[in-house]
Each structure stands twice: as C-alpha cells, then as structure tokens.
C-alpha cells in the first residue's frame, strides 16, 4: 500500500514537473490551475503514505524530504505569484520520491526509535531544515539565472517565466534564515536523543568534524545575510555555497563511511 501510494505521488509530481517545464521545450504553458492541482493531489496522496511510514532509514527520510519540498514549493509559488520554484523543486522532489522507492521504504533496524518523541522531532526538524535550505538554494539559483539574463539583455523564457529578482532574494533570505535554525535544532535533538536513549553518540569522528564544517559554512551564509546585510547576487552565491557544503559533505561521508547514519 505504501509503495502504491508513493508510486501515485511520483506519477503526479512527475506529470506536474513535465507540464511546468513544457514552455522550455517550446510547448504551450499548461493552465496554472493544473500545475498547482497536480502537486497538491500528489502531496495529498503522499501525506497518506507518510502517515503509514516509520521514519527510520534512508527511504522514509527521503520521502519525507520530498514531501516537505513540495509543500514549500506550493507555498513559495503563492508568494512569488508564479511557478518558477517548481522548475527546480519539481524535478528534485520527483527524484527524491524515486530514490526513496529505490532504496526501500521499510524502516531501518532500530524500529523502536521511530516511536520516541525526541527522535521523531529530530527527524522532522532536520528534514524541514534541509528542505528549507534546498529551497534557499533553488531561489538563489533562479536569482543568478534571472540576474544573468537581465544583465545580458536577453528576454527569452527565463526572463518571461522567472520571478523578479527582488522576490527571489526575499524567498532566499526567508528559506535560509528559517532553514539554518531548524537544521541546527534537529542536530541538537539528535545529540539529546543519543545521550538520553541510545547510550551516547554512535558517530565517527569524521562525521563530527565535517558536520561542524558544514554548520560553519551554513552559519556564515546566514551571518552575512542577517548581520552584514548582504543581498542579491553575493547573498545568492553564499546561500549556494552553504547548501553545496551540505550536499558534498553528505555524499562524501556516504561514500567513505556507508551505513553510519541513523536516518539519512
């Protein structure tokens, strides 16, 4: 049942993504109502699937991450009055659901942890934080693309379909400033859970060192935004650097130390 629901959500997200990207391959833009209704329907099916999941292991976490991303995509499209975020968030969410299905949706070994409030909060906040940072990354990428087109006086599809620079900048700021504390709190809850219920932290030294490095890079991106009042292109680049650090460190650790994770 969980797999079937994920497959339906995957199909709906995939269809919505295809319709959203259609103008880039010279097709007529799909009606706005349809590009909103499809991910909404996908999210409705997805939430039913997630409610039946135990959030332990890579597959369930990726599924949850995709769901958060779709919700943020829908919310930000309301803010931006356009479908631009879905140009990148759509394929990303679809890919994440696909990856979740490939890596299996059955919970990992420590099923009991899935009933612990600390653990559930840790997963929820970490996933929300990651989704917000992904949204900040998307807004920054869209900003840089639109900026390049405007500076180069090119008035093609990007100029037409992407939102104004100012709104992308606002979205980037909000997502970064909200995502960083959410992720930080998620990590702190993991530490609390480890100390309270798991008999200490079962993580390798490399994970701690690189985790701190990622946190510092992200913290720097937030600091220049909030304290130094960076905006526009420089802030977008800082935001991209922050999210790239998260991704690179995750992939590097995944390749060098497989199986050392609790939920991701």
């Amino acid at each position: 049942m969980i797999v079937t629901l994920h497959l339906v959500a995957l199909a709906l997200y995939g269809l919505a993504t295809a319709l959203t990207l259609a103008p880039f391959i010279r097709f007529r833009p799909a009606p706005r109502a349809l590009t909103i209704a499809l991910p909404c329907a996908g999210a409705a099916v997805h939430v039913v699937a997630i409610s039946q999941l135990t959030l332990i292991g890579l597959g369930p976490a990726l599924s949850m991450l995709a769901f958060c991303l779709v919700l943020l995509q829908l919310a930000s499209e309301r803010l931006l009055r356009g479908a631009a975020v879905s140009f990148l968030a759509g394929p990303l969410a679809t890919g994440l659901v696909g990856l979740a299905l490939l890596s299996g949706l059955t919970p990992g070994a420590d099923v009991a942890a899935g009933r612990n409030t600390w653990f559930v909060l840790h997963v929820a906040l970490s996933v929300l934080g990651l989704a917000l940072l992904a949204l900040a990354f998307i807004a920054a990428a869209l900003y840089l693309l639109q900026f390049r087109e405007l500076k180069a006086r090119r008035f093609g599809q990007i100029f037409q379909l992407f939102p104004p620079l100012e709104r992308l900048d606002q979205l980037n700021r909000f997502a970064l400033v909200a995502g960083f504390p959410a992720l930080t709190l998620g990590v702190l809850l993991a530490l609390g859970y480890g100390a309270q219920f798991s008999g200490g932290l079962h993580v390798a030294k490399a994970q701690i060192v690189w985790g701190i490095f990622t946190w510092v890079v992200l913290g720097w991106a937030v600091w220049v935004r909030v304290v130094r009042h960076w905006a526009g292109r420089r802030a977008a680049l800082a935001s991209i650097a922050g999210f790239s650090a998260v991704l690179l460190v995750y992939v590097a650790l995944k390749l060098t130390q497989p199986g050392a994770e609790r939920f991701l």
Partner: protein, 422 residues
C-alpha cells in the same frame, strides 16, 4: 429599434480629431441626454484617447443624426462640421454592434493589441452611463466585461507588454517585483519621457524628479506627475538613491556618463538601479552597465521585449475571436428572445378578439342554428385560428432560440399593426 454603435476610433480618425471628440466624465450625461431626446431608448458613451463611441438602442434616424451633429459641433469646420464628423466615423448595427463592443473590451480592437486598460474604461463608461443605459445595454456591457475577462484568462492575448514604454515597466518589474513605492527620476521632458513616466506612475512608482535643460517644460511634467523639476546638473547626485532612471532627452550625445554618475552609483552599496534609456541617440554611456548593480536598457532592448509580446499576442487572435463569436451568439439569442413571449400573447389576444367579434356577427345572421350547431361553429373558428397562428408562433419561437427573433418580431408587429416593443 435595434442596437447601434456610432463613433470614431484610432483607425478612422487622426489624433487631433479624436482629441476633439473625446468627452470628459462630466460631459457624458449631457451628451447622452441629447441623443436620448432624439429618440434613443438607451445609451452608453465610451470615450477614451483612442475612441469615442455611442452605444445606443435606437432607430437609425434621428438618434444617429443627433450623434453626428453632437460630434460635428466639436470640429472647427464651420457649417460643414456635421458632414466632417460622419467622414471620420462608422456605424455598426445589431449583431455587428455587439461583436464590436466585445472586440473592444477584449482588446482586439485596441491600438496596442490585447491591452488591458480598455477593460476598465468600458466599465467606467458603463457606470457613468448607467442611468441612461436601459436593460439591453446594461446586459450588453455586463457581458462585454465578462468577454474581456474570458479572453484574458483563456487566451494569451494580454500576455507580455506591447509598447516600449510598457516594456520598460515590465523590465523594471523583473528587477524590483512590485513597483509601488519605488522612486524614479526622469531625464528629459519630451512626449516619450512623459508617456513612459505615466506608465511608471500607473504602477505606483513615485516620480521624484524631472530634469531637463528647459526648466519650464520640466516643471509642467513634474506638476502633472507629482515630482520636482530640476536642472540636469542637479540630477546626478540623485543616481545614488533612485530606483529607476528614465532617460529621454533630445541631447545629441550621451549625457549620463561614467564621469558624471560612476562614483555616485558606486555609493549605492549594491542596491539595484534600473536605467531605461529611451532616447535616440542614446543618453546613457553603455559603460555604466558594467557596474554590477546597474541594469541598463536602451530603446532597442525595450522594443525587442515589446515585439516579442506583440508576436505572441497575434498568435492568440483566433482563439480570442472564437470567444467573441461564441459570446455574441449567446447575447444575440438572449436579445432575440426578449420580446417574443409578450408578442405571441398579444398576437393571439388580438386574433382571438377578431375571431370572437366575427363569430358573434356571423351567429347573429344564423338564428336558425341549434345550440349544438352554434357550438360546432365556435369550435371551428377556434381550430381555424389555432391553425393560422401555429406557423407564425413556432417560427417566432424558433427564431428567438436562434437569435434572429428581434427582426422577425418587428416584422410581425408591423404586419399585424401592433405597437413596437418596449
């Protein structure tokens, strides 16, 4: 009585004539009252910079004559003024008049294809003429607004921006998002500068300064747009704070140079500046665009944006025309069916009265008939009347359903000597 539109537009009359025919809001009731006094039973006056059109429910004469006379008086051609007005104008009747208004409200008849301002102007005209519009025009204008909305939501006719000035607004919008509350300084005080500044003002941009070599002209525009008139030299320091700079001077060389504003723009600390250079030759040194936070667009760039929009809009014309035709059919079906039921009732009543009178006269001469025979004769007269009226009744109902009822109705009323419908 039928629906008529009589007037002039940007295709039939030059600007100076259209300016003379344009009616301010305060002139509308008086003008309509004159046309109504000439026999129109309903009227709406739509007057914009591109058209002055009287929508009437009237016979051809003399209401239309009243319109030509009214417009003719505004021409400076003395005794031949009336003929002059007619020369610039056009008349569309009935179904064509309905289609015309629907095309107007959807932007198909606009100078800039698909422009949306006309929708608001149609609404304003309807509201200003509401007391004189009458039920038919009331319905016509209500549906015209619906048609305009349908065309804009179901087709791409209103997509993009189709003039250089509005393209400038669109480009600025892609940088700043909502333009309301942004500040703009205007260099130059020509027509183009004024038009573009008005477009910005319509979006809520505050025109803070108008700089020109001739202070007098700058002052006139500044007063209209709510800004302050300054000399060009006084304008340079304001490049540090303004969001948009609109340049359209008649200078033969670049006036906004690196030397004059480079350092000033550098002090903006990354805050974006959108420069719209509408002048030919260009007012702004292209080197200024090298500054990271400066977005510089010249007239060619803006015309590219406008041309793209116009091309896209042209592709949407067939879809928009289909909607107009569909809605014209719907209105015409409603209009055609308006007086059919009361006319059929009146026709039957009249014929029945004739039948009853003739029957009574005949029976007076047929004293020898038994009561049964008299009843037979009466029944015969009823059946005969029903047979006679069956065809006209069904033809009228069918014509009403098909939207041709109004013309047939008039014919029936004329043939059977009935009063014209309300």
């Amino acid at each position: 009585m039928g629906i008529k539109v009589v007037g002039v537009n940007h295709r039939t009359a030059p600007l100076d004539v259209r300016e003379r025919f344009a009616h301010g809001a305060h002139e509308v009731p008086g003008a309509l009252a004159r046309v109504m006094a000439a026999g129109a039973s309903g009227g709406v006056l739509l007057s914009t910079c591109n058209r002055t059109e009287f929508y009437l429910v009237a016979d051809d004469e003399p209401a239309l004559e009243a319109v030509w006379s009214l417009l003719g008086e505004r021409l400076p051609t003395g005794p031949s003024a009336e003929a002059g007005a007619r020369e610039y104008g056009y008349i569309a009747r009935d179904r064509d008049a309905v289609r015309h208004l629907y095309r107007v409200s959807s932007g198909l008849d606009s100078m800039i294809l698909g422009e949306s301002q006309i929708q608001g102007q149609v609404r304003e005209a309807w509201e200003a003429s509401r007391a004189q519009a009458g039920p038919v025009l009331h319905r016509l204008f209500q549906t015209a607004l619906h048609v305009g909305s349908r065309v804009r939501t179901e087709t791409g006719l209103g997509m993009g921006t189709a003039s250089a000035a509005s393209a400038g607004v669109a480009v600025a919008g892609k940088i700043f998002g909502d333009l309301a509350g942004r500040s703009a300084l205007i260099l130059g005080a020509g027509d183009m500068a004024e038009l573009a500044a008005t477009c910005l003002g319509d979006q809520g941009v505050q025109i803070t300064l108008v700089a020109n070599r001739t202070q007098e002209r700058a002052r006139a525009i500044a007063e209209r747009l709510g800004g302050r008139a300054v000399s060009l030299e006084e304008a340079w320091p304001h490049f540090a704070t303004t969001d948009i700079a609109l340049c359209s001077t008649a200078a033969p060389h670049a006036v906004v140079t690196w030397e004059r504003v480079g350092a000033v723009i550098g002090a903006r600390r990354g805050k974006p500046l959108c420069i719209l250079d509408l002048a030919v030759p260009r007012d702004v040194d292209p080197a200024i665009a090298q500054l990271e936070n400066v977005f510089l667009y010249d007239i060619d760039d803006l015309q590219t944006v406008a041309a793209q929009a116009t091309a896209r809009r042209r592709d949407e014309i067939p879809a928009a025309e289909r909607i107009v035709e569909e809605e014209t059919d719907l209105f015409w079906a409603w209009y055609g069916g308006l007086g059919v039921v009361p006319t059929i009732k009146e026709l039957r009543a009249r014929m029945d009265a004739v039948r009853a009178a003739e029957l009574e006269r005949a029976l007076r001469q047929l004293d020898h008939l038994t009561p049964d025979d008299r009843a037979q004769v009466e029944q015969f007269s009823q059946v005969l009347l029903n047979k006679f009226l069956h065809q006209p009744t069904t033809a009228l109902k069918k014509a009403a359903e098909e939207g041709h009822g109004y013309g047939l109705l008039e014919a029936v009323r004329r043939l059977f000597g009935m009063e014209p419908p309300e």
